[in-house]
């Protein structure tokens, strides 16, 4: 197990590099807000003992927001641990606790930090025991957290998508009762009542449904800004913002979705991207190759996406994160806020990789973003089908053999060589061929 001090050194180095690559003003305001938010969390929750929740990414945060319960999202927290270059340490720590290596670390680094009583260098000083847990029923690490903390665990069982619609994004905003199936929405809405009952106990007050409706609508409005940003990236002659910054910004805002800050930050983000595109401020002025990124975020090294600008003029223009914000979250016409929420989450995330749904969406995204190739990270089941569909549509794809958050799987030189070979041997020839036909 690498010593935390090594991690601290690597972190400092990564931080310096990251600063030098930062192009967006909103990246600075996001970081400042995150620092302030964590400081508030530390003060109110970690020191003040205010109850908080640990939740999955695919549960209705809006309900907690409406009840003023602070919460941490397990997978994004894992992402932050990875971004702090401590994922290798915490992955090994889980091994040491007896959790074998084949168990997913994607959400479980939250548990690792909670269990770790020795490391003095925990991310943001570590995590106290939560008062409530709510994740997918398949996230067993949440059950472990519930057992050690004594906090109630509300599992969410997503109903199977028995009638898959490949072009789901065309129906998701207004036609969601048809798309998702009323019986599936009912199933989730019934489970949300369990969550509401448990959350009301923690909050010591009743859920205000009018406030919940406002929050849902504010999320819609925030995602509309993301939609505008995606359209700018799709249609601008060159890429106006680096993918790592875009991904960090999107996830930073999504964590706080429904709040006034998130809405305002999304607007500022849209304004800055528009300004850059209008004034031809490109991430890489020598842009030659446009790549898409498929799968879970490479949270342990977002700056990796900039490595190929100088040598190849290669930029990464697209990830799932911005696009799902636009296509997956927006639900209009939600008179019943619980049903609208249930529809928002009933297939959330899975539509990006369920065979058929994930492939149709990736092909559409490749077309609208004018991409020449794709880099795909394993971790989500169904990704191979997406890759195969892209290949059959003429988009070469590199299967990138790395864990999204586990730093132990990262080998900088090897990864750089893999992508370079891929660009030279697959993307450039494929692009040249297309140019001839054009």
């Amino acid at each position: 197990m690498s010593a935390p001090t090594d991690a601290a050194k690597a972190r400092e180095e990564a931080k310096r590099k990251h600063e030098s690559l930062t192009q967006l003003k909103v990246s600075h305001t996001l970081r400042a807000y995150q620092r302030e938010w964590f400081e508030g969390l530390r003060k109110d929750v970690f020191q003040g003992g205010q109850p908080y929740a640990v939740v999955g990414a695919l549960v209705p945060h809006e309900i907690l927001e409406a009840l003023d319960i602070p919460f941490i999202t397990d997978v994004w927290y894992s992402g932050l641990v990875a971004a702090k270059r401590q994922s290798g340490y915490y992955s090994n720590f889980l091994d040491k606790c007896g959790y074998h290596r084949n168990l997913s670390r994607y959400a479980a680094l939250t548990l690792a930090v909670m269990l770790d009583e020795e490391n003095p260098d925990k991310p943001w000083g570590g995590l106290p025991m939560p008062s409530l847990l709510c994740t997918s029923i398949n996230e067993r690490s949440a059950e472990v957290m519930s057992a050690i903390s004594g906090a109630p665990f509300i599992p969410i069982e997503q109903p199977v998508l028995d009638r898959p619609t490949p072009e789901w994004w065309k129906m998701s905003r207004w036609q969601w009762e048809d798309l998702d199936g009323d019986y599936r929405i009912d199933a989730l809405a019934a489970q949300y009542q369990d969550l509401i009952a448990a959350a009301e106990k923690v909050a010591g007050k009743k859920l205000d449904y009018d406030r919940l409706r406002e929050i849902i609508n504010r999320v819609n409005a925030q995602e509309e800004y993301f939609h505008e940003i995606r359209t700018i990236i799709e249609t601008a002659p060159k890429l106006p913002a680096r993918l790592g910054e875009v991904m960090g910004q999107v996830m930073g805002i999504q964590w706080h979705r429904g709040t006034e800050w998130a809405y305002q930050q999304a607007r500022a983000f849209r304004d800055e991207i528009k300004h850059r595109a209008d004034n031809q401020m490109w991430a890489c002025p020598n842009e030659q190759i446009r790549l898409m990124y498929v799968g879970q975020g490479l949270w342990q090294n977002l700056d990796f996406f900039t490595e190929f600008e100088e040598k190849y003029g290669a930029v990464f223009v697209r990830s799932n994160y911005l696009s799902i914000a636009s296509d997956g979250y927006i639900r209009y016409g939600g008179r019943d806020p619980i049903r609208a929420l249930a529809s928002r989450y009933v297939t959330m995330s899975e539509q990006m990789h369920i065979p058929g749904l994930g492939s149709a969406w990736a092909i559409e995204e490749a077309r609208t973003h004018r991409v020449d190739g794709g880099l795909s990270i394993a971790g989500w089941w169904g990704v191979k089908t997406v890759n195969q569909a892209l290949e059959e549509a003429g988009i070469p794809v590199l299967d990138f053999p790395v864990d999204a958050v586990d730093g132990n799987t990262w080998d900088e030189q090897k990864m750089r060589a893999l992508v370079s070979n891929f660009i030279e041997q697959r993307v450039l020839p494929s692009k040249a061929k297309k140019n001839i036909y054009a």
Partner: protein, 384 residues
């Protein structure tokens, strides 16, 4: 392990355990409707009540999977890959309907897509039966609707299902459950070995229900009158994945012990409790499969673990073996806690992380089991 010679009844059971589609294909050839089920939570009673022949569809894990290698992600269980390949190859063509259960939702999605692409034209009609297994009222309405939908779907393929037919089917399967529980008692008394028991129980998933009940009853009578096996350590086996094979049992027997119970529908948990005859028959069937069929989807942990804790506490259980092959994504989260609980109960525990389906894995398991059992005092010494 010294094994007694078994008669024709056991040979019949062992034959159908090995030749899993033989009876169903014969029924299809004879003009009967055959409905396949993938996973143990699809109720056979509904299929029987419709006058059709139920068959559990299982994976041939030695099968080559060239098409699955293109589409199916490596982190999914080998079972998903091989069943996908079988679907693409047309192995299920003889079925009139194939019903997948919730634990196989990913297989359902992959089959849906490959069929949509026109690359698996021999797939029969197929559907998912999405029984949620958390034990809470929030999922009741959804589960009730799903079983009603399944009854309609099966009724369209075979005969319309009515209450009288359901009651008759329940009577048949409850009789079989009683026999399987008697078999469990014989395992405890040492007259039936673990490998034999797995075959005798597993055959029931592939045979005509009446023929199976007859063969099982004959085997039980014969075994009950026969000698006990030589004294061995009695093992409770906890498994991360369904054991549609006897490899782990064989390795344990080769190491000088005997599995007397396993937390798996392929073995000791096949029977469970009877389906209630006091409730509306469809409701009773739903309740049985919702709360008394062990899968990884059962929640809360207490519901998942009650049976195994009761077994672990048995005074005749000498050791506990937990089989957690590389495909595990769930049991591993419970393993440290469960192992500690068992050890606190005074039971030695062996964790097996290798794959019993591969030669290399089997060698590794054998080399771990031998010293483990050698280090446990008790039954062997007593036998001497």
């Amino acid at each position: 392990m010294q094994k007694p010679q078994r008669g024709a009844a056991f040979q019949t059971l062992a034959h159908h355990y090995a030749h899993r589609q033989e009876a169903a294909r014969a029924a299809h050839a004879a003009g009967r409707k055959v409905i396949g089920r993938i996973g143990h939570t699809v109720p056979t009673e509904l299929i029987m009540a419709a006058g059709a022949v139920p068959i559990l569809i299982t994976a041939d894990l030695d099968r080559k999977t060239p098409v699955a290698d293109i589409y199916v992600d490596p982190e999914l269980p080998p079972e998903t890959r091989t069943l996908f390949e079988a679907g693409v190859d047309g192995d299920f063509e003889f079925l009139d309907l194939l019903v997948l259960s919730r634990p196989y939702d990913k297989l359902y999605y992959f089959l849906k897509e490959i069929y949509r692409l026109g690359r698996a034209p021999k797939m029969p009609p197929f559907a998912i039966y999405d029984l949620m297994q958390s034990q809470r009222e929030a999922v009741r309405v959804y589960n009730e609707d799903r079983i009603r939908d399944l009854v309609k779907r099966i009724g369209r393929i075979a005969a319309k299902v009515d209450d009288a037919a359901l009651v008759a089917a329940i009577e048949t399967t409850n009789s079989t459950r009683a026999l399987q529980r008697r078999l469990g008692n014989l395992r405890a008394t040492g007259t039936v070995g673990g490998v034999e028991a797995m075959q005798a129980i597993g055959a029931g998933y592939f045979m005509d229900p009446q023929s199976y009940a007859q063969a099982l009853a004959s085997f039980i009578s014969e075994a009950a009158a026969g000698p006990a096996l030589s004294a061995r350590h009695n093992v409770l086996l906890i498994t991360a994945e369904p054991l549609g094979h006897t490899n782990v049992h064989q390795l344990i027997e080769a190491a000088g012990a005997n599995v007397v119970a396993e937390d798996d529908t392929w073995g000791a948990r096949a029977a469970g409790d009877d389906i209630s005859t006091k409730l509306d028959p469809l409701q009773a069937i739903l309740d049985k499969y919702w709360s008394d069929v062990p899968t990884t989807g059962v929640w809360p942990p207490a519901a998942r673990e009650t049976w195994m804790m009761e077994q672990a506490a048995r005074s005749d259980i000498d050791a506990i073996v937990m089989y957690i092959p590389p495909s595990d994504r769930m049991l591993g989260w419970d393993t440290p806690r469960l192992a500690k609980t068992f050890r606190d109960m005074g039971k030695p525990v062996q964790l097996l992380f290798h794959d019993a389906l591969r030669d290399k894995g089997r060698s590794a398991i054998a080399s771990e089991l031998e010293p483990f059992f050698a280090g446990i005092p008790g039954r062997k010494e007593a036998a001497r």
